[in-house]
């Protein structure tokens, strides 16, 4: 590589060259919009959220209670068998304290976010969600937490019907 090749190609541009209009660019914003069919499992899941309930699906072969629910078991590769309600409490598997938002912009108040393994579902069956009512230096892996729901009339059948999880304070 270094013996045979004397020059490596590529011409670096600085942010300033762009903001000064020194670089020729063409702009385009794609208009993309989707409406995904949620399918059987996720439709029921979202409708139950509206009722303030969490639901999973059980596979009768491996006996796991899958959460979030799905109509097929990825381990056994067969259709799952029954609906099972699970609890809205769980255990923090992992978390992060984020100082950036979804577009990588700095934010003042950090977001506490993590994976919660839910009580009543099988091992490691977690979902991602926010935490609140806990200081960022007090949050810990394995901490027990409980969902804080939106008021019934505010719920719309979305994962955000749970506002966040708070410490159970056991």
């Amino acid at each position: 590589m270094t013996e045979n090749i004397k020059k490596f190609y590529g011409e670096e541009l600085s942010r300033k060259q762009i903001s000064d209009g020194k670089i020729t660019i063409v702009e385009h914003s794609p208009k993309v919009k989707y409406a995904w069919s949620c399918g059987e499992a996720m439709s029921r899941f979202l409708n139950e959220l509206k009722e303030g309930k969490l639901i999973g699906r059980k596979c009768n072969k491996c006996n796991r209670i899958l959460f979030p629910p799905r109509m097929f078991c990825e381990q056994c590769f067969k259709a799952t068998n029954e609906w099972v309600y699970i609890k809205d409490t769980g255990r923090i598997m992992t978390y992060s304290i984020s100082y950036v938002d979804t577009h990588a912009r700095r934010i003042k108040k950090p977001i506490l976010v993590g994976v919660i393994a839910m009580d009543g579902a099988s091992k490691n069956m977690g979902i991602m969600h926010y935490f609140d009512e806990v200081k960022s230096d007090k949050i810990k892996i394995d901490m027990r937490v409980k969902a804080v729901w939106k008021r019934k009339e505010e719920r719309e059948g979305a994962i955000t019907d749970i506002k966040y999880f708070k410490p159970l304070g056991e």
């Binding site: 989707y34 409406a35 399918g39 499992a41 381990q75």
Partner: protein
């Protein structure tokens, strides 16, 4: 090639304009389950590799590959995405088996295009951003590219709009005998010619309408097929090719990619006179004229003769070379990346004598051909035999 590779199972859902009852995962699960049942295999034990065919913007994900394994049974197994139509996936599976590393490979392709609300805008997003997209942004639909191509093809070959309309009539009629088809109809060429002119000379009925659906193939080496006690449909030759990404430089009257891909496939299959060997064909008909242009590119009829032949009935179910017995994309629906595998599916079903009311008598060798659609100049060919 020293080894033989065969199709030992196929599974598919129906093709229709919308599928609101199932998610993209569930539609894949349905077709995969049927394919595994057809092949008599357990994906968690018997399959060595899985291939899916998808493009991010059709699906609405930045990395669609993430959302594949669970519903195919491929968790913690070799799995990958080919960003092309299903025949490209089939070709990769074929190559994987030829290496000797794999015995059984699953290939999946689907369309859940009804989830996309802005098809035209996404298609525009495929146009070269510097040279061509600004023109599209002024209001030109990308299908104008097909309109211009049709014009050039007709002027180079003398093909008429009536002959193109005849393709639509034939394919939609064929679809009447295909219970999976989404756009079957009994129409005459007047209906086509009098349908709204959209991208002249293309009229509404010259354009294949979009459809959802999923097709899954199970491929196996000769030894593995024997163990499964199957009479596989053998893959005899494959080819794939791209012409150019410059609209300015492409051959507007010819399908160069199909010429190149078919030559590669014929060479591999030791076919010198394709017309003598190929009993029937499923060729890309995203637009009516494409069927004719592709048949000429494939060497299945002489250049400039496809139009006359379709008028004479040569490509009818009972013609000398039945073409698109499934109904083609005009009759089944345009399933985008699944369209190539849908063509492969029809060839396999015909060779297995499983094609129900549209069954062709005494066929032994069939050809499937795909084109990746506007604005691409890429496509693939696969030749199957009993």
């Amino acid at each position: 090639m020293s080894k033989k590779v065969g199709v030992v199972g196929v599974g598919y859902t129906g093709f229709s304009s919308v599928t609101p009852d199932v998610s993209w995962k569930e539609i894949m699960f349905q077709a995969a389950n049927r394919a595994y049942h057809d092949a008599g295999i357990d994906p968690r034990k018997d399959v060595d590799s899985f291939i899916t065919c998808a493009e991010d913007y059709w699906e609405g994900f930045s990395i669609f590959d993430e959302f594949v394994p669970d519903q195919l049974g491929s968790v913690l197994r070799p799995t990958c995405t080919v960003t092309a139509d299903g025949l490209y996936g089939l070709i990769n599976g074929y190559m994987q088996i030829l290496t000797g590393l794999m015995d059984i490979v699953v290939v999946e392709a689907h369309s859940k295009i009804s989830d996309l609300l802005t098809y035209n805008d996404v298609l525009s997003f495929a146009i070269d951003p510097v040279f061509n997209r600004p023109l599209i942004d002024l209001g030109a639909h990308p299908y104008y590219i097909a309109g211009m191509e049709m014009k050039r093809y007709m002027s180079e070959t003398g093909t008429t709009e009536e002959q193109c309309a005849e393709v639509v009539r034939k394919n939609k009629l064929n679809a009447m005998s295909n219970p999976s088809a989404g756009y079957e109809a009994k129409i005459n060429i007047e209906d086509v010619l009098s349908s709204e002119e959209l991208f002249a000379p293309l009229k509404r009925l010259d354009i294949s309408p979009l459809a959802d659906g999923c097709v899954v193939f199970v491929l196996a080496s000769e030894e593995a097929a024997k163990k499964l006690a199957h009479d596989p449909i053998w893959i005899k030759g494959v080819g794939w090719a791209s012409e150019t990404s410059w609209l300015e430089n492409k051959e507007w009257g010819r399908a160069v990619y199909a010429e190149l891909a078919s030559r590669q496939a014929y060479k591999m299959a030791n076919i010198t006179y394709p017309k003598k060997v190929i009993d029937f064909a499923e060729v890309d008909d995203k637009f009516s004229y494409k069927e004719l242009q592709h048949l000429e590119a494939l060497g299945l009829c002489r250049r400039g003769e496809a139009g006359k032949s379709v008028e004479e009935g040569a490509f009818d179910v009972d013609g000398v070379l039945p073409v698109n017995t499934s109904g083609g994309l005009l009759g089944v629906g345009n399933t985008l990346e699944a369209s190539g595998l849908q063509k492969g599916l029809e060839v396999v079903l015909q060779l297995r004598k499983d094609a129900g009311g549209r069954k062709l008598p005494d066929v032994e060798c069939g050809l499937a051909q795909s084109w990746r659609g506007v604005p691409t100049t890429s496509g693939a060919v696969a030749i199957f035999e009993v």
